[in-house]
């Protein structure tokens, strides 16, 4: 096995996870459950292909993708923050809605129930192995950037306060509601960028193309104990397992289904506290009356 090709492939697989998990960290640290990442990614992927198809420019596609994720995240935010709907229920529904909306519009705009036509993308130089794609570099930088925002800026302090002790935050004049709206919007845009990367990398949208990646990102958030850098490390770990599976294909050493289970099994182990307990933000999932 060639270590250079292993690392480059691992990074390419990790990029959608890195975007989505970084978004998930922001929303969950603000106290809003992020079961929605899958739906945000899917809507971002579709909107990016739609924008690229009609403008011919992948940059327009990136903007459209971010807008797609933003719209879905605002639906989530209004339902759970303004109306205090159950975050888990709405999260599940957002994912179902994203599948439905992308399917319906796939039919409406491209008259297909499976995939869009081929659209433009970034890079494409074979020698660059995907590293001539600006979104890839953005994906590498997103976790350190989110870590900086969460730990070193006033906004980050407010996000953490909203997730740990909203009453205390309110008592010193922080609008927890506004902080949570912004945090959910950021999570929508970041997760959507993960979907955008996926769609533009494959030059098309296919039905349910995110295929559970949003849930792997949630696993990374939990396994990384809600810390952006540790979550990013978890993303790389999960991507490494997938790369191993792809590169070992044909050798039948381990059935691929067992490699697929790794992120989920590790998350359960982390939650059960077998190796150091994963403790969520104190106010996660609770919106006070």
């Amino acid at each position: 096995m060639n270590p250079v090709s292993f690392v480059t492939q691992m990074i390419r697989i990790a990029i959608p996870y890195l975007f989505a998990a970084s978004g998930g960290v922001v929303a969950e640290r603000a106290g809003i459950v992020s079961l929605t990442l899958e739906g945000f990614m899917l809507s971002g992927a579709f909107a990016a292909v739609l924008g690229t198809n009609y403008s011919g420019s992948p940059w327009v596609g990136v903007l459209c993708g971010m807008l797609g994720g933003l719209i879905f995240s605002l639906i989530h935010a209004v339902a759970t923050i303004r109306y205090r709907a159950d975050q888990v229920v709405v999260g599940v529904a957002i994912n179902l809605l994203a599948i439905g909306v992308t399917r319906f519009f796939l039919k409406l705009f491209f008259a297909s129930s499976s995939n869009s036509p081929r659209v433009a993308g970034f890079g494409g130089n074979i020698k660059a192995a995907g590293f001539d794609n600006p979104l890839l570099w953005l994906g590498i930088l997103v976790a350190p950037f989110v870590a900086f925002v969460i730990y070193k800026t006033p906004f980050g302090l407010r996000v953490r306060a909203a997730g740990e002790h909203p009453e205390a935050a309110e008592s010193v004049g922080v609008s927890v509601t506004r902080v949570r709206y912004v945090a959910v919007a950021i999570s929508g845009i970041l997760a959507a960028l993960g979907g955008v990367y996926l769609a533009l990398d494959q030059h098309q949208f296919t039905d349910q193309m995110t295929a559970g990646r949003g849930f792997i990102a949630i696993s990374a958030v939990i396994f990384g104990r809600w810390d952006p850098i540790r979550a990013a490390a978890a993303c790389l770990l999960f991507a490494a397992a997938e790369t191993l599976q792809i590169q070992l294909q044909g050798s039948h050493a381990i059935p691929s289904q067992f490699i697929e289970m790794i992120p989920y099994a590790l998350t359960i182990i982390a939650l059960a506290g077998v190796v150091g307990r994963a403790v969520p933000p104190a106010a996660l999932g609770k919106v006070e009356d």
């Binding site: 709907a85 849930f215 949630i218 289904q257 289970m261």
Partner: protein
């Protein structure tokens, strides 16, 4: 806001009989959601340049208007009733079982294994019982994992059940793809015993539809769940824990035991749902047969307001949407129904707390 809701909550109000208050709180959210869904449906139909009235008429004709369509609604409602009852059973104890998807699949798989292991010619009642027990056991085993992790380690059941979905489905895929499939397919051979009669065997008008006697099992399970929740001591404890775990613990109920029971039996109910497809329809287990029915169970429980009989009605509603998509497909893509499912869930989830606040606010004012 908080002051007025506090006042409404602590002062006893006698402005309306309790059954009316409860009926209003239970019925208004689904009706609001239906209205929102109809409006969204109108927009989607108009975006396709069709007439909403004509499309809705087609939808009703293709589902409740003929025996085949109604049979298909019955079939789809049966699976959804199982998963909806499973989710609502957990929710009554305050626990969210998002694992119905994999519990249903595991149940179907176990039913097929039992049907394959039994020799042909096993007496029907005996074979059916064994297959159903196998299905319930498999679902219960999957359900007991988050139950154990929750009560022993405090691991949140939402995340554990989601993660377990992926693990169990991958495991089943490995069994089927690697070991048990008929060549060139992803399903097991046909079972030897335990085939449930179809409705068409009794009334030929249902010819071609997949509806089968699993729907009687679903109805029985609903009655048992109702009896347990509202007439048995265990169900009283379960609901007490769901309302206020610390108060229940203080009142001498072991919260952990109740949680263990609630999630495990939630899994048993979801697992039994596997018989509808495996014993009633295809007579084999096929990889991916459960796709989506477990998640829709959450919607069914929510719209059915966690009451067993409400769940049955909600199961019919979502089955009608799903079958209706096929009926209108020539005019508007059936994917429209996927959108409406999501819209209905978000609308109900949003309307439930809002309607409660508005009603209590109104009562608080009329009282003062």
């Amino acid at each position: 806001m908080s002051a007025s809701s506090l006042a409404g909550g602590t002062r006893p109000t006698f402005s309306a009989p309790p059954w009316r208050e409860r009926a209003e709180e239970a019925l208004i959210p689904p009706l609001v959601a239906l209205l929102v869904a109809l409006i969204c449906g109108d927009l989607l139909i108009l975006s396709y340049g069709q007439s909403p009235a004509a499309v809705y008429r087609l939808l009703l004709e293709g589902t409740w208007g003929n025996a085949y369509g109604f049979g298909q609604v019955l079939y789809k409602a049966t699976t959804l009733a199982f998963t909806g009852l499973a989710v609502s059973f957990g929710l009554r104890a305050g626990l969210f079982n998002i694992g119905a998807e994999s519990q249903l699949a595991a149940g179907g798989f176990a039913a097929a294994l039992a049907g394959l292991a039994l020799p042909a010619g096993t007496p029907l009642i005996f074979a059916l019982l064994l297959c159903m027990i196998a299905a319930g056991l498999a679902g219960g085993v999957v359900g007991s994992v988050p139950a154990y992790l929750k009560t022993r380690f405090g691991a949140h059941e939402v995340i554990v059940t989601i993660m377990l979905n992926f693990i169990v489905l991958a495991l089943l895929n490995w069994f089927i793809a690697g070991h048990l499939h008929v060549p060139e397919t992803l399903h097991t051979p046909e079972i030897h015993a335990g085939v449930l009669p179809r409705l068409a065997d009794i009334d030929p008008r249902f010819h071609g539809s997949a509806a089968n006697l699993a729907l009687i099992v679903a109805a029985l399970v609903a009655v048992v769940v109702w009896f347990y929740l509202f007439r048995a001591r265990g169900g009283y404890e379960l609901r007490a824990v769901g309302l206020q775990p610390p108060a229940a613990e203080y009142g001498g109920i072991s919260v952990n035991r109740v949680w263990m029971r609630a999630l495990t039996f939630s899994g048993v109910i979801a697992g039994m749902g596997g018989i509808n497809y495996v014993l009633g329809y295809k007579h084999y287990y096929e990889d991916g047969f459960a796709s989506g029915a477990g998640f829709l169970g959450i919607a069914v429980a929510l719209v059915g307001r966690n009451h067993p009989f409400g769940v049955i009605i909600a199961a019919f509603f979502f089955a009608t949407l799903s079958q209706g998509g096929l009926a209108i497909h020539a005019f508007v893509p059936k994917q429209m129904m996927d959108v409406l499912q999501g819209v209905v869930i978000i609308a109900v989830a949003t309307a439930v707390p809002e309607v409660r606040r508005i009603l209590r606010g109104a009562r608080g004012r009329s009282d003062a």
